[in-house]
């Protein structure tokens, strides 16, 4: 089964973070990716720019264009900062994988809907 690991943390502008801290964070993710590779787990992932850079489209009403607004869909203290999609045997395995994954304030695990099954 495939799962998305959604990594939440307080908004961070990684460009503005001191280099040593940024390198340390990247190293943690490199270690996680090494773990995934050592287990032969298929994966994909990306880090997101902070939610202050987000743009949200909302339906403005029937027969009207979508409304373009500044900011994330939901304003939270912590935001989605990055994600991985991993192949895991089951939820227990996905939890085990997520334990190895660096995270800020929490990791949400969601199964992907497989339209082909």
């Amino acid at each position: 089964m495939r799962y998305m690991l959604m990594l939440f943390e307080q908004d961070t502008d990684w460009d503005a973070v001191p280099e040593a801290e940024r390198t340390a964070a990247l190293d943690e993710h490199a270690a996680f990716i090494a773990y995934l590779n050592s287990r032969g787990i298929e994966h994909y992932g990306a880090a997101l720019r902070p939610s202050t850079t987000a743009t949200t489209l909302r339906p403005a009403g029937p027969d009207r264009d979508m409304l373009v607004t500044d900011g994330p869909y939901v304003e939270l203290k912590e935001n989605l900062a990055g994600f991985y999609i991993v192949e895991a045997a089951d939820l227990d395995d996905a939890v085990e994988i997520a334990r190895h994954c660096p995270t800020g304030t929490g990791t949400e695990i969601r199964p992907l809907w497989d339209a082909t099954s």
Binding site: Y3, D90, D92, S117
Partner: protein
């Protein structure tokens, strides 16, 4: 065969077999709803066929065969239909199902229903429905919600198991510290509710106690070295040992202080205290878990020759340990009640007054009940009567209410 005889036979088969049959059939269907339907049909078949064929010697085996066949038929019929949910993940399913001991089969079901990725109310509801075979309307009644609400909750929980890929398996030893509390909480909730029903005209709900007992026994059989499992089973045994003394001949409540201890079952006390001792010895020093500590408290009460001669200092010390590992206002209240026998009712009354400010205890009948007892011992009978009346108004259990009302009428009773 008479109608009653048949009903009894099916009820007995249901009680003993439901969980085992379902646990086995789930491996065939790999779909919880389909398995439930098949088991339901097998019981319907029993009602239809047993009057003529007679009750089979091994009802569980008979029901398993019928349910499995019904499930396979249904699978063949529905093979062409689009599947909405992914199948249940059954790790290590290469081994033939017949080889594995049947208890392990049920344990898989317990650990799947008690997965920490499910909320506690969902876990309890699923365990009652799938492991114990309690009909959905009865589960709804237990939770004080309507039947459609409970049906929706069960559906959501079953859907999550399959959609999120909660595996159908017994956790490995190294996973148990994470997984066990979620399962023990379910058994404990059943035991608490069975011991003193939160509402209704009976003090106890024996069917829930029986279910909790069976679950605790299965867990202890499979994990004989787990301190917390032993603690839970000890609590089950000690509650059973004392249950006969909890009601007087007219069905009225007898509090611990007034119980005729000669009615306690000495064999169960011995067994329970031995289990409680093992639970404490198996705990890391100074770090006993909540179930071992609850058992230890029950053991101190069970070994006391009388209420007055109870080792209250020891009870308070155990409550302090319990509050350190599992803080709870209800435990703090119980500690205050025990403390009153060490420091006197006046000191304990101050503590109860402070605790009553905790919003989590608002409306909990235990607060005025404990306060009433302390006031009575202080000779403040009018206030005691008012508190007993307040406690009576806050419980929905008829037996408890009658007792509290009697005390309100005569606090010195």
């Amino acid at each position: 065969m008479g109608r009653d005889e048949l009903t009894d036979a099916v009820a007995d088969a249901h009680r003993r077999g439901w969980g085992r049959v379902l646990a086995t059939v789930v491996r065939v269907t790999r779909d919880l709803d389909a398995a439930e339907d098949a088991v339901q049909e097998a019981f319907a078949a029993a009602l239809e066929l047993w009057p003529d064929q007679g009750v089979p010697a091994d009802t569980t085996a008979w029901l398993t065969t019928v349910a499995r066949n019904r499930a396979l038929d249904a699978l063949r019929r529905e093979r062409t239909l689009a599947r909405k949910l992914p199948l249940l993940i059954v790790p290590g399913d290469d081994a033939p199902a017949d080889v594995e001991p049947i208890e392990d089969e049920r344990l898989r079901l317990i650990f799947t229903c008690c997965h920490p990725a499910l909320a506690l109310p969902a876990r309890v509801a699923l365990t009652l429905r799938l492991v114990c075979g309690v009909p959905t309307p009865d589960v709804a009644r237990l939770f004080l919600v309507t039947q459609p609400t409970m049906a929706a909750r069960l559906t959501r929980a079953k859907k999550k198991i399959q959609a999120a890929g909660i595996p159908y398996r017994v956790p490995a030893a190294h996973e148990l510290p994470d997984r066990l509390p979620a399962a023990l909480a379910v058994v404990s909730l059943l035991l608490t509710e069975g011991h003193t029903a939160s509402r209704g005209d009976s003090l106890r709900r024996p069917e829930l106690v029986r279910t909790a007992t069976e679950l605790a026994e299965v867990l202890a059989e499979l994990m004989p070295d787990e301190a917390e499992v032993l603690g839970l089973l000890a609590t089950v045994r000690l509650a059973a040992a004392r249950s006969a003394a909890r009601l007087d001949t007219e069905g009225g409540l007898m509090p611990l202080s007034a119980q005729d201890r000669s009615l306690w079952d000495p064999a169960l006390i011995e067994d329970g205290c031995a289990l409680a001792g093992r639970a404490m010895r198996r705990s890391s020093p100074g770090r006993a878990g909540p179930y071992a500590l609850h058992a230890a408290i029950a053991a101190v009460h069970s070994e006391a020759p009388s209420y007055e001669a109870t080792d209250w200092t020891q009870v308070v010390a155990l409550y302090d340990l319990l509050l350190a590992v599992a803080p709870s206002p209800v435990t703090a209240l119980a500690r205050a009640a025990a403390w009153s026998h060490v420091a006197g009712p006046a000191a304990a009354l101050d503590e109860v007054t402070a605790l009553a400010a905790d919003p989590r205890l608002h409306g909990y009948y235990g607060v005025p009940a404990v306060r009433a007892d302390l006031l009575r011992r202080l000779g403040r009978n009018a206030e005691a009567a008012a508190s007993f009346a307040e406690a009576a108004a806050s419980t929905a259990n008829d037996v408890e209410r009658s007792y509290l009302l009697a005390r309100a009428a005569d606090p010195a009773l």
